[in-house]
């Protein structure tokens, strides 16, 4: 199975990420698949340079986390968040095939970001099921 997305769908995803995430101060927001491909990546102008490496590592990290969850008897860990001194990463699962990754600085609150991400996930789910 392959994923094919056209202009309309990609524009919708791009807009959802830009409005809800970049709009609240997130530095980079990426929709990736769990194989590590980048579907859409947006940033505020100072985003991560090496998005492909980041996507590969994020997909692998997410996969490792899910496997660990199963070993300890959880379906999934509900919060995947790595906090750095200046930048942090927040991962959200959209479904078995897609992940949303946010990189953001201290000025963005995690609580607010989680709310916004939940909204984006709703939008993206709608776009991706019509794919």
């Amino acid at each position: 199975m392959n994923l094919i997305l056209g202009q309309k769908q990609l524009d919708r995803i791009h807009d959802a990420l830009t409005e809800n995430l970049i709009g609240i101060g997130v530095q980079s927001a990426m929709l990736i698949d769990t194989a590590g491909n980048i579907i859409v990546s947006v940033d505020n102008g100072n985003g991560v340079r090496d998005v492909y490496s980041l996507a590969a590592l994020a997909a692998a990290n997410f996969g490792a986390m899910s496997s660990m969850a199963k070993i300890v008897g959880e379906d999934e860990f509900s919060l995947l968040f790595h906090k750095g001194e200046k930048e942090s990463i927040y991962f959200s699962k959209i479904n078995d095939d897609f992940l949303l990754i946010n990189i953001f600085g201290n000025q963005v609150s995690l609580g607010f970001l989680r709310l916004k991400a939940a909204k984006v996930i709703e939008d993206l789910t709608a776009v991706l099921v019509t794919a």
């Binding site: 994923l3 997305l5 490496s53």
Partner: protein, 208 residues
């Protein structure tokens, strides 16, 4: 699972180098990384142990340039070959579009090659992929060992052990010397692209 972006005319596909531990998968990628720097706009990512063994994977994206007006980006990965790392190996295989199986020509590795190929078949099956259908290239690596007077398996034996039924395209190679490393890569990319092309026409038909 390849991703096709019709808007920017971009294709991303994933190719994984598989095989027994110490067979030369990482050395294959290092050679490609050093030889093809214009086609790689990224650092090579390696997740490895203290002792320099692959723990999770090696990775970099490889720009193929245009194929039929599409920009093709190939994500190249290796897996950790050691038997104990099967769960991480499975994670790397997720969404794979093409596989290079790197076999070790050293005589004492004969069994390890066969076990690893069997393991590939099982792990692909977990993702509902059939080793007989997926684009696959077999590489008989470390042929240069013979020059140092070390005993190597002859090609007939390796073909019989690994490729008798699969009948995949195969290359004798040396990742250390760079012999046939790029030919292996070219072959797996073209096999992966033509398989994608077939699926795409099929998926388009389905949509009509």
């Amino acid at each position: 699972m390849a991703f096709i972006n019709l808007k920017d005319k971009l294709i991303q596909a994933k190719i994984v180098y598989y095989g027994p531990g110490r067979g030369g998968k990482t050395t294959n990628l290092e050679y490609i990384y050093n030889k093809c720097s214009q086609q790689i706009n990224s650092e090579m990512v390696t997740v490895k142990t203290q002792g320099d063994r692959t723990l999770f994977f090696d990775f970099f994206p490889f720009d193929m340039g245009k194929i039929k007006e599409y920009d093709v980006k190939i994500q190249l990965y290796t897996v950790p070959g050691q038997v104990k790392y099967n769960s991480t190996r499975r994670l790397v295989l997720k969404g794979v579009d093409g596989v290079v199986f790197v076999a070790d020509s050293a005589v004492e590795r004969r069994n390890k090659n066969m076990i690893s190929l069997k393991n590939l078949e099982e792990n692909l099956a977990l993702y509902h992929k059939n080793i007989f259908n997926i684009p696959l290239v077999i590489q008989y690596n470390k042929r240069d060992l013979a020059k140092q007077g070390l005993p190597i398996l002859d090609i007939e034996t390796m073909e019989m052990d690994l490729n008798e039924q699969l009948k995949a395209p195969s290359f004798e190679a040396s990742a250390l010397e760079g012999n046939n490393i790029l030919s292996t890569l070219k072959k797996i990319i073209s096999a992966t692209m033509s398989s994608l092309e077939k699926e795409l026409t099929w998926e388009h038909e389905k949509w009509k």
